[in-house]
């Protein structure tokens, strides 16, 4: 049928170029499309799909970060969100969203990032970020009983919703979403002085207030607060009583601001978050740098004010590098940085893990040689590793888990060394030797902090206390910065001490030798876990390990075969240096690290990025190289990268890796399930599932549909809340360690 003009009915239509335009924040977006023009009446008709594509291109361009008030509103509408609903999801008032959109209040980067993510996801008909925000905003109490829809299939069980196409024959798990992992709180925005009082606290004001109080009193108060926040949770009522409620009691000449602050607290007290690891740590560094020498320690209300002020100065990169990165890369970098803070590890497992990984030589490599290992160990720990761990760090980590709890005997993070060792079998010098690398004096810390100051005089993402969290506030009186910092030492402190010793022994090659040895030590630990998982008589999964790490019979570092599916686990011991993420140098630094870690091409299948190596192993499987080991060439595979350190697992990171895999042609083989990034804590839980006869392959394959890009720790938690059972040896080891510590500290005869 010949087309006619929609306006006048004339059949004379001509194809013409038409420019679609949209103005936002003074910028004009334009795009040429082919339209039709009526030769009789002059009406131009623009195809709807072309107009749709133009609008999506505008969203994609705005996602690069140039977002002003009108663009923000445009993105919100693109995300399909009412202003009031967005306010609920972001935990701000509708008035705040309104002021963002009419330009009366500066846009917050976190809000922009989330709205961009929501808009992009809406275009792709996905809802990962929105669902997470909806769950966070729902404030539902977790069900005490969670019933999962399991279906019996022969001797196994499967949770089923619908069949999925990517890996045939496997079902999507019906995950309950009313059980929330604590890490989900990372997406909550925290409050600033501007959002509470209506006025930002400048760097000069914050510094001035800090100078008015004693540095050691302020540091101690902040350490006590950190203990409560770390062990009771950012969202706990006790934390709100300590940090939010005191704002109501503030007095001073700025009556209007204080009245507004009181109104904020009264209207949304239970939504306000002021204290978290990053803000407390930032203030501790600021106090060490600028605190006064008076006798006066700040009260709760003063610290609350500092927290609100500090929050307005966080979340900044030293360099933005925004032009070279896509919006997805910048978001991934931001989430990597955020994920370094406020984690709450299982201390029992962390202590046992540290003791087992670092307390023995690697099974492979140059340091497997007894003599070389002893030489390194004796430099790192002159009194022996056991004495170091049982006298110092192991004990401190156990105590740190109790700090902040009101009913604990040792509720405060303070160690009076004389009283602490008292009449025990440990001498003051032995204790001091054990904590030598982790304690510091104010002057040393000040020098370290002063090296990375911003132009406004505030420290930039300081990390001095991350390395040396025991501050000697008076002779032989140590105050630990936070339980976070102490458990952080379990992960990195011992590692760093070995590294320093290795450099001392061989300044040229020592570091490389240690890094290689640690890779083997970490793999040895993962192999131990796999063996523990495989010993149970009830297990349905088969675990395949090479005769030793890197041996010629290696299929992958660890392979779990279950229900006809092979789970390929590639174990990586590399740590993300503080300068990459915690110190927030630039988003590009984070993205470069990730790309190198996952995708680096070193020319062969044995070296290079984690995903290159994994993909080459799957190529071998597909070639039939492992058929003599019982692995058929066409069997479904789930790739898992097991890491010692967090690599910032997030939905955005997964999407970034997926793009990278497509770009480099990795993991694109047929029947390859979704990539999983498993921190060692997650891998321990996966092995616990194997040990208890619970499915692992189906669990990992269930990360499709709404769960496709979700973090493994959250899914593991939701599968077995509130705390999935540990592998049994953890408790046995922990009790034995506790007995040895008690024995060391028992009274001298």
């Amino acid at each position: 049928m010949k087309r006619r003009c929609g306006k006048c009915g004339n059949p004379g239509l001509a194809a013409v170029k038409h420019t679609i335009k949209r103005e936002l924040d003074g910028r004009t977006f334009s795009g040429d499309v082919t339209a039709t023009r009526c030769e009789a009446c002059g009406e131009t008709l623009v195809p709807g799909p072309a107009a749709l594509a133009f609008e999506r291109a505008v969203v994609a361009d705005l996602a690069r970060g140039d977002v002003g008030p009108q663009s923000f509103r445009f993105l919100r509408r693109a995300a399909g969100l009412q202003a009031a609903r967005l306010a609920e999801l972001l935990d701000v008032t509708p008035g705040t969203v309104s002021r963002w959109e009419n330009g009366k209040k500066p846009l917050e980067r976190r809000a922009v990032a989330l709205v961009v993510a929501l808009a992009l996801e809406a275009q792709e008909k996905r809802t990962t970020t929105r669902e997470l925000l909806e769950r966070l905003a729902s404030k539902r109490k977790p069900s005490k009983r969670v019933v999962l829809g399991l279906r019996e299939e022969g001797t196994s069980y499967r949770a089923t919703l619908e069949r999925t196409g990517k890996t045939s024959g496997h079902a999507e798990r019906s995950m309950r979403t009313d059980v929330k992992h604590p890490s989900a709180t990372y997406a909550r925005p925290y409050e600033t002085a501007e959002s509470i009082f209506g006025k930002e606290m400048s760097a000069a004001e914050l510094i001035d207030r800090v100078r008015g109080f004693s540095w050691n009193g302020a540091y101690y108060r902040l350490a006590c607060l950190a203990a409560v926040v770390a062990n009771e949770g950012v969202l706990s009522d006790r934390v709100r009583r300590l940090t939010v409620d005191p704002i109501v009691t503030l007095t001073g000449p700025a009556g209007d601001l204080l009245a507004r602050g009181r109104d904020s607290i009264r209207s949304r007290r239970n939504e306000i978050i002021l204290a978290h690891e990053e803000s407390i740590s930032f203030l501790q560094h600021l106090v060490l740098l600028e605190g006064g020498d008076s006798d006066e320690a700040p009260g709760d209300s003063e610290i609350s004010l500092w927290l609100a002020g500090a929050n307005g100065h966080l979340a900044r990169w030293f360099r933005e590098d925004s032009e070279s990165l896509s919006d997805e890369e910048r978001l991934a970098a931001e989430l990597v940085r955020i994920s370094r803070f406020s984690s709450k590890p299982d201390v029992l497992r962390a202590v046992v893990r540290t003791r087992r990984i670092f307390g023995r030589k690697p099974s492979t490599g140059s340091l497997a040689d007894e003599e070389r290992w002893n030489a390194l160990s004796s430099v790192a720990f002159p009194g022996g590793f056991d004495a170091f761990f049982e006298t110092g760090l192991g004990l401190l980590a156990m105590l740190a888990n109790r700090w902040g709890h009101g009913d604990a005997k040792q509720a405060n993070p303070l160690v009076n060394v004389g009283q602490f060792v008292g009449q025990s079998g440990v001498s003051v010098s032995e204790f001091n030797s054990a904590v030598a690398g982790f304690k510091s004096q104010r002057d040393d810390l000040r020098a370290a902090i002063a090296r990375r100051l911003r132009a406004d005089g505030l420290p930039h993402s300081p990390s001095a206390l991350f390395h040396t969290p025991l501050v000697e506030i008076e002779p032989d009186i140590l105050v630990a910065a936070s339980p976070w910092a102490i458990t952080g030492l379990l992960r990195t402190g011992v590692w760093a001490r070995y590294l320093a010793a290795a450099k001392k022994i061989d300044p040229r090659k020592g570091a490389d030798e240690w890094l290689s040895a640690f890779g083997y030590m970490f793999e040895d630990w993962c192999r131990d876990l796999a063996r523990e998982a495989a010993v149970a008589s009830s297990h349905r999964a088969k675990v395949i390990l090479p005769s030793k790490p890197g041996a010629s019979d290696e299929i992958e570092d660890i392979v779990v075969v279950e229900d006809g599916v092979a789970v390929f686990c590639s174990v990586k011991g590399r740590l993300m240096e503080a300068k990459v993420a915690r110190e927030a140098v630039s988003p590009a630094t984070v993205v470069e690290w990730m790309d190198k870690f996952f995708f680096e091409d070193k020319g062969d299948e044995f070296r290079g990025g984690a995903l290159r190596q994994l993909s080459s192993r799957i190529d071998k499987l597909r070639r039939g190289d492992f058929e003599d080991r019982g692995l058929t060439r066409d069997m479904p595979v789930v790739p898992v990268v097991v890491t010692y350190d967090s690599v910032g697992e997030s939905d955005i990171a997964y999407r970034h890796l997926e793009s990278g895999c497509k770009k480099y042609g990795l993991l694109q083989q047929r029947n390859v399930g979704p990539l999983a990034l498993a921190r060692i804590e997650d891998f321990e839980q996966l092995m616990s599932r194997v040990r208890r006869g619970k499915d692992v392959s189906n669990f990992l394959l269930s990360r499709q549909g709404v769960n496709q890009y979700r973090r493994l720790d959250q899914l593991l938690y939701e599968a077995e809340p509130p705390s999935p059972p540990r592998l049994p040896f953890f408790e046995v080891d922990f009790r034995a360690l506790a007995d040895r510590i008690i024995s060391r500290y028992k009274l001298r005869s």
Binding site: G6, K7, T44, L45, G48, P49, A51, L52, E55, R77
Partner: protein, 87 residues
């Protein structure tokens, strides 16, 4: 009912167009192309309008009412759009 179904089917098949006036008025009506598409494919009411046109009323993606005036030929042509009781 038949007109509404026809409009929905044409829109889903990608056979829908804007007059330049309708496209230019999107910003003034606080609407996006996606909202127009949402109304075309899920309108709640469709009534005949003067000049052989159709008046299609539905909710945009934010749940706010949006009315389209359309021509229904071999393709759907969005002639104009407005909010609430205008014009």
């Amino acid at each position: 009912m038949r007109a509404r179904r026809r409009i929905r089917d044409l829109a889903r098949a990608g056979r829908w167009e804007f007059t330049s006036h309708a496209l230019d008025s999107l910003a003034d009506r606080d609407a996006m192309v996606e909202d127009v598409y949402a109304v075309l494919t899920s309108a709640q009411a469709c009534h005949s309008a003067p000049g052989g046109r159709w008046r299609l009323t539905g909710d945009d993606r934010l749940g706010d009412p949006l009315t389209l005036i359309i021509e229904l030929r071999a393709q759907v042509i969005v002639v104009t759009l407005f909010r609430g009781d205008e014009p």
